[in-house]
């Protein structure tokens, strides 16, 4: 009788101890690891000075080989304005003939004539819709007059991408200009070869084949 009771008390005691240990273990596991002192956030100083956002200015080569060879055996080079000085501007030109001087250029930009953008008073320049001359490098301004939504997005950082810093307090940012991505004469993006697809490694299953 006595021994039985002793056994029951012992078993109960053991059960309580085990359960207690179990609870402690579980509680320990559930405890959120805590951050010591100041490791939670970055302690780097913030500055109020903003770095610059720079848009690339393209350098446009104005000199072109005329196709003739000079007395020194070198190809003769002329700028746009030099050669066009003796030519009567053609305000109706909307395409490039396959035999003309500018043959080989691909043109497909709406129904616009060449002189919508190029300045017939000075072929080294572009011009605004209002007729004021623009440097050949300032195509950003040229394009933005007609494509106001893309320009707004570009200014907001939502069209045209960027590199450098999202946070201008910590560094500058570089932007490409419209003609880095769009050929002004054929602005639609041409198809490109995709980088190779992923390969499956041992044990991996195709995510699409998994039941979600």
């Amino acid at each position: 009788m006595k021994r039985e009771w002793g056994g029951i008390v012992f078993s109960l005691g053991l059960a309580v101890v085990l359960a207690g240990t179990g609870v402690l273990l579980v509680l320990d596991g559930l405890r959120e690891p805590s951050w010591p002192d100041d490791r939670r956030f970055s302690r780097e100083e913030t500055s109020s000075r903003l770095n610059r956002e720079e848009v690339r200015m393209p350098e446009v080569e104005l000199a072109m080989a005329t196709g003739e060879t000079g007395p020194d055996g070198q190809p003769v080079m002329q700028t746009c304005a030099e050669c066009h000085a003796d030519r009567r501007p053609n305000p109706h030109a909307r395409s490039i003939s396959s035999k003309g001087f500018h043959a080989g250029m691909d043109y497909h930009h709406g129904a616009q004539s060449c002189l919508t953008c190029h300045d017939m008073k000075n072929y080294d320049k572009l011009h605004t819709v209002a007729g004021r001359p623009l440097s050949m490098s300032n195509s950003l301004k040229l394009c933005s007059q007609c494509h106001v939504f893309q320009h707004r997005d570009f200014v907001d950082g939502v069209h045209g991408g960027m590199s450098g810093h999202w946070d201008l307090t910590r560094g500058g940012r570089q932007r490409q200009t419209c003609i880095d991505c769009h050929d002004p004469h054929h602005p639609a993006t041409p198809p490109v070869e995709a980088e190779p697809p992923p390969v499956l490694v041992r044990g991996e299953t195709e995510p699409e084949e998994k039941t979600p």
């Binding site: 939670r40 907001d156 939502v158 590199s163 999202w166 699409e208």
Partner: protein
């Protein structure tokens, strides 16, 4: 040589199972679960005593952390011959990161996939990356129907391209299922993995509705001169085999104010990144002024990754 059990372990190395026999009673439930991980014993290489007793990342003090980082830098040198710097990049107060992607201009070129592959020290033969690009039928937004294996010239007629990476959810189901708290959401919204604490149980991988988590089946093979030496503990440091990894919004860059590698690599400018708490940021311009889409919105996970069409 990977020992399959403790009795084959090299001297000085200790498997979680051996350690458990002696020290089991002193360890918390988390460590207990960690020791029982089914895959840890074969996929992960054996741990040294130092590694085994390492505290949880969040509980390390400055000195302890320094030692851990130094140890990982040493092993990068020993295993890969590469001199790397492993930093501890922490969030800033007042910053929550958001990403928006313009599906109207994405052409599916996979330049982002490639940039991630290089930036984040992924296994070269496995072509690992945290981004998958799905080729989708126009009109469908069901990512289970996307094709990730397309090749050749893009974009194709009648298709659009949906790049998918970790959505850094506000209510991440992957975090909830982790039995050992090896993954959590940080104050800037980035969901991180402590590769030293992960036991490779893959519950989180199954829990992610975007299939954005990946199991590291083998130790990454990367030629020495291709290793990105600019690394972070919770970010792009070279992961051991047998742990889970995922996109961390390039925290080694973004927490220093820089843009993520995938964004810089995008030739179309489809990717927009920034601080959701700053109303003048590019990403807020998208969210405030556009109609934005969230994948599998009905799940209520509140991702910080948004899609829009021009």
């Amino acid at each position: 040589m990977k020992p399959v059990c403790a009795c084959h372990a090299k001297p000085g190395a200790i498997s979680r199972r051996t350690a458990l026999k002696g020290a089991g009673a002193m360890l918390g439930a988390a460590a207990f679960a960690k020791a029982l991980a089914p895959l840890a014993n074969w996929a992960r290489e054996e741990l040294t005593v130092e590694e085994f007793v390492q505290k949880h990342y969040r509980e390390l003090d400055a000195e302890g952390l320094k030692q851990v980082l130094a140890r990982h830098e040493r092993s990068a040198l020993e295993d890969y011959g590469a001199e790397v710097t492993i930093g501890d990049h922490r969030p800033r107060e007042g910053v929550v990161f958001g990403y928006a992607l313009n599906l109207g201009v994405c052409i599916g070129c996979r330049k982002c996939v490639e940039a991630c592959h290089r930036e984040n020290n992924h296994d070269r033969p496995g072509r690992g990356s945290y981004i998958r690009v799905l080729e989708m039928e126009k009109g469908s937004m069901d990512l289970e129907k996307g094709n990730a294996r397309y090749e050749g010239l893009v974009p194709r007629e009648g298709r659009f391209y949906l790049p998918v990476q970790c959505h850094q959810c506000e209510h991440p189901p992957c975090v909830d299922v982790c039995p050992v708290e090896a993954t959590w959401r940080e104050d800037d919204g980035i969901v991180v993995v402590d590769y030293d604490w992960c036991i490779g149980c893959r519950y989180c991988e199954a829990a992610c509705p975007y299939h954005a988590r990946k199991f590291n089946w083998r130790k990454p093979a990367i030629p020495k001169d291709e290793i990105n030496p600019d690394q972070s503990y919770l970010g792009n440091r070279i992961r051991p085999a047998g742990v889970i990894e995922k996109c961390h919004f390039c925290l080694h860059r973004t927490r220093e104010g820089r843009l993520p590698a995938c964004l810089e690599a995008c030739p179309t400018g489809a990717r927009v990144f920034g601080n959701l708490l700053d109303p003048s940021s590019a990403v807020r311009k998208v969210i405030d002024h556009r109609r934005v889409y969230v994948l599998k919105e009905e799940l209520g996970l509140k991702p910080n990754f948004f899609y829009f069409f021009d």
